[in-house]
């Protein structure tokens, strides 16, 4: 076991899979000699050669198309989109092509591609670098969408994603890259996709979150505990498909729930969760299921990030409304 940050755990997962399967290829903008702009691929080109780990010309749609083509030749591409804010450049490759490969070939072809990309706010990037655009991906059938919130989860989930035979979008929150370390096994291990994780147990309220908001929710839960509320926090980990079983079991136990997302309210990850709960567990509910989300504007210019991004106080405020309903 070693203490690793999330980015180290990601590098480690890539290394393990490059070693484990000669069909794994890692590529993208500045991921070779430079090791990626966040150093997620640090040392990989040196260890595995330019044949397996290589820079591409600057074009995201090119990277997406290349991944599809390589997968048709039996490779298992793990491309990086330097920032997920640039995903619009590669939308057709992802949603129009990659997601439909199995479907439109009647199952003859599949595309075992894992697209990694950093996203998320709170680190004062220029425009188009921090947006939470995951709902663009969850809206497209054919894609699995993963958002880890801890180093341990990141490694296990990335390995599972790479080994998965279908396209996976793997989103890495910028603020979590180096925010803390934890024990991460050095060997390969997998965490099943589509499985949520109960990060904290409780019996009065369920908070459902993913990405950075898991940590804001845990912080809120701690504060609420001091005020005598026992709060359960579920980390979705995979936002498409949702782990309905874990969510419903928890809500049936607590009778109250809120859903927290960093994305704008109109981007509907939380809305999906709320709908699933009301469809399946309305009779267990003691209060309406509320959402905590960012407001419906474009991601703010960095100077206004602090107020715009949901934080643990917003989570507490909404939690109290539900607890005292």
């Amino acid at each position: 076991m070693a203490q690793m940050t999330m980015i180290q755990a990601i590098t480690d997962a890539l290394r393990v899979e490059l070693k484990n399967d000669e069909n794994v290829l890692v590529f993208g903008e500045d991921i070779g000699v430079n090791g990626g702009v966040f150093r997620a691929t640090e040392g990989l080109q040196k260890e595995f050669g330019v044949d397996r780990v290589f820079d591409t010309p600057l074009a995201e749609s090119g990277i997406g198309g290349l991944a599809i083509g390589l997968s048709l030749q039996g490779y298992r591409p793990v491309p990086e989109i330097q920032f997920f804010g640039f995903v619009y450049e590669v939308m057709d490759s992802i949603s129009g092509q990659l997601a439909r490969m199995s479907y439109r070939s009647g199952g003859v072809y599949n595309a075992p591609v894992t697209i990694r990309s950093p996203f998320g706010g709170g680190v004062h990037t220029p425009e188009m670098h921090s947006d939470s655009l995951e709902s663009l991906m969850t809206a497209q059938p054919g894609l699995t969408v993963v958002v880890p919130s801890t180093p341990y989860d990141a490694k296990g989930l990335l390995i599972s994603s790479i080994r998965n035979d279908n396209p996976v979008i793997f989103l890495e929150h910028l603020k979590l890259y180096r925010s803390f370390r934890e024990e991460v096994p050095e060997e390969a291990y997998t965490i099943p996709l589509g499985k949520a994780d109960v990060k904290r147990e409780g019996k009065d309220l369920t908070i459902i979150a993913y990405g950075l908001m898991v940590h804001e929710s845990l912080k809120a839960a701690e504060e609420l505990e001091k005020e005598g509320h026992s709060v359960e926090v579920i980390d979705l980990r995979t936002i498409q498909p949702l782990d309905i079983e874990t969510i419903i079991a928890s809500v049936e136990k607590t009778g109250r729930a809120i859903v927290v997302q960093e994305a704008q309210k109109q981007a509907g990850i939380a809305a999906n969760v709320v709908a699933e709960i009301t469809e399946r567990a309305i009779l267990s509910l003691e209060a309406p299921v509320l959402r905590v989300a960012a407001p419906d504007t474009v991601y703010p210019f960095p100077q206004a990030e602090g107020v715009w991004l949901p934080n643990f106080k917003d989570v507490m405020e909404t939690a109290k409304k539900v607890l005292t309903f």
């Binding site: 600057l58 074009a59 640039f86 004062h124 109109q266 407001p295 206004a304």
Partner: protein, 371 residues
């Protein structure tokens, strides 16, 4: 099209011939001597001094911006040293009514086109007021999405043409940017519509860490214009006179209804890619840095002007002083700008009435902000 016997057509040879045609256009050599008498634009003394002034001023602006960033007083910043001739001599060929669609590194051009310096600083700090361009200053805020500005330029140029204006739309990207689909679409659209656009590719040899050679098999980036059917030229981007002439001629063709031009300027970025943690020693050698330092655009232009008796140390000092003073003032103004709020951003989301969801949220944030 004339037909040729297929057996006689040699695709490889054709490519070689096209590529060889793209020789680098130069007027002023590294020693500050005119080596291309015929092409000398014969700028007036005042014009020469003004161009030098702008380059010196901008070098200081770059140095100050870097140190202000290090002190935490500026945010996002992409260094410009080494690219002064490419940026400012191309801008020098423009008129006030021309439009500029810059990339993130092209702040100097829009400042010299009329954007107040404090706005450039506010842009760097991530404040929307920095993007609020004053009336009559025909520029967009620097583009972050590489390539987006290229297609929009085709649109602005077509609009200028349809309105019957004698003006051009000018845009900039880098060597890396020339790999984007948007780049090809932009030059192709402008070519197809024969619209008055100038597309400048500042080839500073690297796209973050990726060397120019890894971007494309094409020997020059200028030759990409051939496929779009538009005039194209490879220019010594460290030579202010050559950049000026290439842009001036492109502008003249454009306003005369002859369509767009693609200009590749060969230059170098001395500093890091941006101030957000880039380390150039990971991907380029100091030998390469020194090799390019010898070609410095300011050094050679200074020599040229000194030989003409138009420039001396005192002049240089006074420009430096003026730059420092104006930068200090602009920072003060930027500091005095009220912090932006989320409700302001909400106000700016739509022209006219807000949609109902946002209206509701507006009240919530107004309340939050009042605390």
């Amino acid at each position: 099209m004339s037909k040729k016997n297929n057996n006689m057509f040699d695709p490889k040879q054709t490519l070689v011939e096209i590529e060889e045609k793209f020789e680098m256009f130069q007027i002023l050599n590294e020693d500050g001597e005119i080596v291309n008498e015929q092409a000398d634009p014969k700028l007036s003394d005042e014009e020469l001094v003004e161009l030098m002034t702008r380059m010196v001023y901008t070098r200081i602006l770059d140095q100050r911006s870097i140190s202000l960033n290090r002190q935490g007083r500026l945010g996002f910043y992409a260094p410009t040293a080494g690219q002064e001739a490419s940026q400012l001599a191309s801008h020098f060929a423009l008129e006030k009514e021309d439009w500029i669609l810059p990339g993130y590194r092209d702040v100097p051009q829009i400042v010299w086109h009329g954007l107040p310096l404090e706005k450039a600083f506010l842009f760097s700090r991530g404040h929307f007021v920095g993007n609020q361009v004053p009336e009559g200053v025909n520029v967009l805020a620097p583009q972050i999405i590489i390539g987006a500005q290229y297609i929009q330029t085709a649109g602005v140029a077509l609009g200028l043409q349809k309105r019957g204006k004698k003006a051009v739309a000018v845009t900039y990207t880098g060597d890396g940017g020339s790999s984007q689909g948007d780049f090809y679409e932009g030059i192709n659209f402008a070519g197809a519509f024969k619209s008055p656009a100038i597309f400048i590719v500042q080839n500073n040899q690297f796209a973050i860490s990726t060397p120019r050679e890894s971007q494309t098999a094409a020997k020059t980036l200028a030759q990409k214009g051939v496929a779009a059917g538009i005039p194209s030229i490879l220019v010594d981007g460290m030579d202010a006179l050559a950049v000026y002439v290439a842009t001036r001629d492109a502008r003249e063709r454009a306003v005369n209804g002859e369509g767009p031009t693609l200009i590749e300027t060969m230059c170098y970025r001395y500093g890091p890619h941006t101030m957000a943690g880039d380390d150039p020693t990971r991907y380029r050698t100091s030998d390469k840095d020194s090799e390019w330092a010898l070609k410095d655009p300011l050094v050679r232009f200074r020599k040229y002007l000194e030989a003409k008796g138009l420039w001396d140390e005192a002049k240089e000092e006074s420009v430096i002083e003026r730059a420092k003073e104006e930068i200090k003032e602009a920072i003060k103004k930027a500091d005095a700008t009220p912090k932006q709020t989320v409700t302001q951003l909400m106000d700016n989301m739509y022209k006219g009435e807000m949609p109902s969801n946002l209206k509701e949220q507006y009240e919530i944030y107004k309340e939050k902000e009042s605390k």
